[in-house]
Symmetry: C2
Subunit: 130 residues, 2 copies
């Protein structure tokens, strides 16, 4: 199969691409991560989100430890060709390593304080103990 | 007013922060851009999305030319403190410089081709001629 779809993408100077994951059922934006060329190819081949961990410097199959796999429903590319939006089914309903549905669980209030607005659905100890 | 809310953020090595804009009414993810400290402060002070243009190296009040202002409804910070999600009311219903609602208007089909799935609502010539 041709790699034209991968060549269309404008990878940054480090060969990376910002990726946004959105829940295909609720519309909630779940998380933001990075992909390299191999992780994007694997995401499509395997039908699940595979990111590139910049801190660990390795492929990161979302849910490989926690079980909170993101099944890919659709993927969209932005006008500049340098960001992708993944529509995913979030298994376990938890995308965040803190055990919450979304990583964006802190909201700025009128006093300019970041306030936690989402509860923990699953304890991190339970998610990562296996 | 204290700047603690700005100090909470983990700015990258260039002092920037990825920002995702989501339509507060439809849930559609509209665009992805970058902010620096000043642009985030102005976003809150002015109640509208103000980004940092990396290509032009200057503040970018979204809609300043096109009129397609993004009114801020809420802003959320992710678990790592290094990405923000803006919930906005998109004036003119157009976020993309191509005249579409969302910048994410190309979707990968089963033959691995990026296919345009959103129409142009307003011609770019009309948006930027003033």
């Amino acid at each position: 199969m041709s790699d034209e779809w991968l060549d269309t993408i404008k990878w940054d100077s480090q060969g990376l691409l910002p990726a946004i994951a959105q829940d295909s059922e609720t519309g909630r934006v779940l998380m933001f991560a990075w992909m390299n060329r191999e992780s994007l190819r694997l995401t499509i081949e395997e039908g699940r989100a595979v990111y590139w961990s910049r801190s660990r410097n390795q492929l990161w199959r979302k849910g490989e430890e926690s079980g909170n796999v993101q099944e890919l429903k659709a993927i969209e590319l932005d006008c500049d060709g340098d960001v992708v939006l993944l529509h995913v089914k979030q298994l376990g309903n938890v995308a965040c390593h803190t055990g919450r549905n979304s990583c964006f669980y802190r909201r700025l209030n009128e006093a300019n304080e970041w306030v936690t607005v989402e509860g923990v659905l699953k304890s991190p100890e339970d998610m990562y103990k296996r």
